[in-house]
């Protein structure tokens, strides 16, 4: 059997095992907290209607949250894990094993995807009950939603990997991702239609994938009439796939080079230095 294909299979298995390890761990606290926070938001929004439509604000926010979760998991997850794995030696271990890097990266993608699936369920299922159902959502809509989610992952995951490769420490990776993403989310029309913020901020928001992901998930799950609340009054499907596509293509162009450079530079003494730094921060 081809050694690379063999390692790829091991990577899938690795992702599944790491996912299972997180299931029973404290990692799920974050999911539960997020689920509860989002539920509260939806609860308060359930009786408000979006201006110009008959759709409730909660019904608008629920799909937007799914889009946001993709961007969040796609960037914060890999950035944190990659920087952590550089510090604890997982990456070096992968480097010491034949085709270990193939297995490692595929394992990470698998785990991030499965993690995202859990997050989506945690957000969607209780939210669906509060919103009281989404009318007109059948198999085609769900398939379309899946396409948007996959494209969204492709648009964000490579960038998470890039940040994780460049950050000097896991804390640095968090700093690079958490706050900026929160900021972008705030202006991307996730919790309230983007039309409510100043025009120049709308322009800024449209440069990032978060807005387009939210738009994509809304277009998948909401009736066409709800498009009236969007900029230009339409779902702008072409633009949505276009912008996400550009982020994905750029990401897949940049990430392999940066990942390779990071992996090449990884060595035991660097790891030891980072370990010492971590000890001094008091987290070793």
């Amino acid at each position: 059997m081809n050694a690379r294909t063999h390692a790829a299979k091991l990577g899938l298995r690795r992702g599944w095992m790491e996912f299972r390890h997180t299931l029973g761990s404290s990692d799920q606290f974050f999911n539960v907290l997020m689920g509860i926070a989002f539920l509260i938001v939806l609860w308060f929004q359930r009786d408000l209607t979006v201006p110009g439509t008959t759709v409730s604000l909660a019904a608008l926010t629920l799909p937007s949250m799914l889009g946001m979760a993709v961007a969040f998991n796609g960037i914060v997850g890999p950035a944190g894990q990659l920087s952590m794995n550089r510090e604890d030696g997982t990456l070096l271990r992968a480097k010491a094993v034949p085709n270990g890097m193939v297995g490692y990266l595929l394992g990470r993608v698998t785990q991030t995807s499965l993690d995202l699936l859990v997050t989506l369920l945690v957000v969607f299922v209780p939210g669906y009950l509060v919103v009281g159902g989404l009318s007109g959502v059948g198999v085609p809509e769900v398939l379309y939603l899946l396409v948007v989610l996959v494209v969204g992952m492709a648009a964000t995951l490579p960038w998470g990997a890039v940040i994780g490769s460049l950050a000097k420490s896991p804390q640095g990776a968090m700093g690079f991702t958490m706050l900026p993403i929160m900021g972008v989310i705030a202006i991307s029309g996730i919790f309230y239609p983007i039309t409510a913020i100043p025009g120049w901020l709308q322009v800024v928001a449209q440069g990032f994938p978060v807005y387009w992901l939210g738009l994509g998930t809304r277009s998948a799950l909401l009736p066409d009439a709800a498009a009236a609340a969007e900029l230009t009054g339409s779902w702008r499907t072409l633009e949505m796939f276009g912008v996400l596509g550009v982020w994905a293509v750029l990401g897949f162009l940049v990430a392999p080079t940066i990942l390779r450079r990071m992996a090449r530079r990884e060595s035991g003494s660097d790891m030891e230095q980072r370990r010492q730094a971590a000890l001094q921060r008091g987290v070793g």
Partner: protein, 299 residues
């Protein structure tokens, strides 16, 4: 030749860490790289592992330049680094089995890869901890797992960077037995770093002393010991005054001493230099920069 290093140089910024390291290792040899902290042991080993690019020099590991080594080459190496904290959530058996599988495509009729997982677990004495999470292992157990992972692919060449740091005497003895077994039964070539001279003496067919970025001694523990055996220090008191004399022939010197002074000699002491004394003296000389090229001892 499994390892062939000639005039290896390494420079970080403007600091030279290795200035012209030369050595070789043959198949089945256990070579100890000995030296004080900061002598460049880890840098050397990282270059051989292909984890670090040398500034200059000729390096061949299993006939390949490490920087250009492919995955087939990689599969023939085993690597145990100084510190690992990875895979804390994995269980011991699960992790060893997973990492071993990467070597499956690289097995040959004469060398089945990887080692059977359970056999390996008992080889390193982790049977009782096979179901434990890696993060819950003690320092010594963790180190034994690191060694097991290092050899899971049945490597032809194994690198061990300070393998016994944190071992209690019992674990250390077990580990020494393991190294001997691997070299004898599997024909593994082993390069290990240590700053424990006694360990190097016990394990290695050959000891390389690295100090000040150079190999300052290269020979079997026996050769090292013989060279040292001659040197001794004679101390005595004569008429209330204390004397010290270093000599290659202590017996002859003492005979001479008594021939010249038939009385008045007391508190006679003859102290043989130990291997450790020579090693320390060698290292100190080279670190303080007193050594010249000619002085470099090839034992």
């Amino acid at each position: 030749m499994v390892i062939d290093v000639r005039d290896l140089r390494m420079r970080y910024g403007s600091v030279d860490v290795l200035h012209g390291v030369d050595f070789t290792a043959e198949q089945g040899e256990v070579v100890a790289l000995l030296g004080p902290n900061g002598a460049g042991k880890t840098t050397t080993i990282e270059i051989l592992e292909g984890f670090r690019l040398p500034s200059a020099g000729h390096v061949r590991v299993l006939g390949v330049e490490p920087a250009k080594g492919d995955e087939v080459w990689r599969a023939k190496l085993g690597v145990v680094l100084q510190s690992w904290r990875d895979h804390a959530r994995w269980r011991v058996r699960e992790l060893l089995d997973h990492l071993g599988r990467y070597y499956e495509p690289y097995g040959t009729p004469g060398r089945a890869r990887p080692f059977p997982t359970d056999e390996l677990i008992s080889t390193v004495g982790l049977e009782e901890h096979a179901a434990k999470k890696v993060g819950k292992l003690s320092g010594g157990q963790r180190r034994r797992l690191d060694v097991a992972i290092g050899i899971v692919g049945k490597p032809e060449l194994l690198f061990l960077d300070e393998p016994t740091a944190g071992f209690d005497p019992h674990a250390r003895r077990d580990f020494h037995d393991l190294v001997h077994r691997l070299a004898d039964l599997e024909g593994m070539t082993i390069l290990l770093t240590t700053h424990d001279l006694a360990e190097a003496e016990k394990l290695a067919d050959r000891i390389l002393v690295l100090a000040g970025g150079r190999i300052i001694a290269d020979g079997s523990p026996d050769q090292l010991g013989r060279q040292v055996a001659g040197k001794a220090e004679v101390r005595w008191t004569q008429d209330g005054r204390r004397h010290v004399h270093a000599t290659d022939d202590a017996t002859g010197f003492v005979r001479e001493l008594f021939a010249q002074h038939d009385r008045g000699i007391s508190e006679l002491e003859v102290r043989r230099n130990t291997l450790e004394d020579t090693y320390l003296a060698l290292v100190q000389r080279h670190e303080s920069g007193q050594a010249t090229e000619e002085e470099v001892a090839v034992l």
